[in-house]
Symmetry: C2
DNA sequence: ACCGACTTGTGAACGATCTCACAAGCACGA
DNA sequence: TCGTGCTTGTGAGATCGTTCACAAGTCGGT
């Protein structure tokens, strides 16, 4: 394999898309695929796909293209999906519950191993076969579970405090859904998904 | 005001962030703010903030900074948030319901005016004070409601068909949550939010 | 064994985005 | 009225991301 150096989010996100597409091809028993065939599926240039892939090694065969099975395997390795990732979910409101449900179905390499809330009606009860703990126990419980990634779906007002707790107890990555600009901890890779911002972008295009 | 020309998504999304921050300042009775003060809040350079804002006109006062109230008002106008936007939600599973709930609370300029599903247990029932219709009625009902934006939260297998229906009946923008690469209609501004891709990006950083 | 048709991987050109640095402008006090 | 101190708006330059174009390599047919 190859470069550890700064791979951009854009490239990484496209790798996920390629992987998804390649798996569909596997299901259709396609064994080989060229960069231009892939490029047609999404609206990308073939060169970009080749550049993206080439950053991690030489996966293709000149004159032939890429062997689908091999490329799937390589991408899984590159993205780190060949090992299980333990997740904690913090905030089991309507969004958090939906995410938890989604993850237990689509469980491939991501597995929920801890759940937290503050609502007395939820703490102590189960979501799936997992007991919901009180958030004040985050620091105590997370290290026992081996969770490295946290999904943060609490109200805005609680987001920063929960984030800091998570950072303190060894969480390495957070996917945040609260519409706030988190003051980030240096030890934590943080990514936010902001529904409202996306809607507002669409609103802009409608009124112009 | 100024340029209609191609504003990038990056800029637009930052404008939303600025707006959110400015509203907090309003609540704290701060009347003036400089680009460098804003820059501290998020981790951005002051110059970038000024460039972003300057694309739409001269909102600042040299030597003083920006008047918070004025800038809020200007950004609301720029983003098109000064008028109501009617939304349709398609697919009221766990995610769709969470989104619908979220939008009815946080209703500022976005209002749900139509809801669709195919599940017999849902069609005919209400979500909030809105009746859920069968998806086959999308083409008929959407034009009556004036919805211009659709939120698409159906399973992957149904996403493309629903999208095409929405495009056909005059929807101008779609926010898609299904993990698929939609074949886009030229008349529709489309944006996707992909939970899985975001998780996979985080996974990459953990294993490297 | 060779040719022709094809595809990859990649340097170089291009374009978009961000940062730097400073002239132009405003407020306030002397 | 003028000067000082501050901040905006903005060209010029740096950096990052994408596209172009082609040499290098592979395969199948003859
Ligand atoms: N629901 C959506 O569709 C949606 C969409 C985009 C963003 N969001 C954001 O996601 C977050 C959650 O949204 P929601 O709709 O699920 O809200 P919700 O009110 O349904 O759920 C929030 C949950 O967090 C819990 N909570 C509160 N403080 C907590 C703490 N300190 N520690 C742990 N849990 C705590 C609450 O008890 C509740 O169960 C919000 O920030 C919201 O803005 C939601
Ligand atoms: N739940 C999550 O946290 C989550 C996160 C990320 C992405 N997603 C994606 O969002 C989509 C919905 O997820 P979900 O968890 O709500 O699934 P879900 O199964 O709970 O809900 C899907 C809903 O869509 C309805 N539906 C099916 N076909 C339809 C059609 N043709 N027209 C209208 N409605 C139809 C179903 O009846 C159901 O109510 C999926 O594509 C999923 O991959 C979900």
């Amino acid at each position: 394999m190859a470069e550890p150096a700064g791979i951009s989010s854009l490239t990484l996100n496209r790798l996920s898309v390629y992987l998804r597409c390649l798996r569909q091809l596997q299901d259709s028993d396609v064994t080989h695929v060229s960069s231009s065939q892939l490029a047609q599926q999404f609206e990308l240039s073939a060169a970009l796909i080749r550049k993206d892939l080439a950053q991690f090694g030489e996966f293709g065969i000149r004159g032939t293209g890429y062997r689908v099975d091999d490329l799937v395997e390589s991408l899984i390795k590159v993205l780190g999906l060949d090992r299980a990732h333990n997740l904690a979910v913090v905030g089991l409101g309507s969004l958090g519950s939906a995410l938890a449900r989604y993850l237990s179905i689509n469980d491939k390499p991501f597995r929920i191993v801890a759940a937290f809330d503050v609502d007395g009606r939820k703490v102590g009860h189960k979501i799936g076969h997992l007991t919901i703990h009180h958030s004040r126990e985050i620091r105590e419980i997370i290290p026992q579970t081996g969770a490295q990634i946290a999904v943060l779906s609490v109200p805005e007002s609680a987001a920063q405090r929960c984030y800091d707790d998570l950072a303190d107890c060894g969480i390495k990555a957070v996917l945040n859904f609260a519409p706030v600009q988190l003051k980030q901890a240096p030890s934590v890779r943080t990514k936010s998904v902001d529904f409202q911002i996306n809607l507002e972008e669409l609103a802009y295009f409608l009124s112009s």
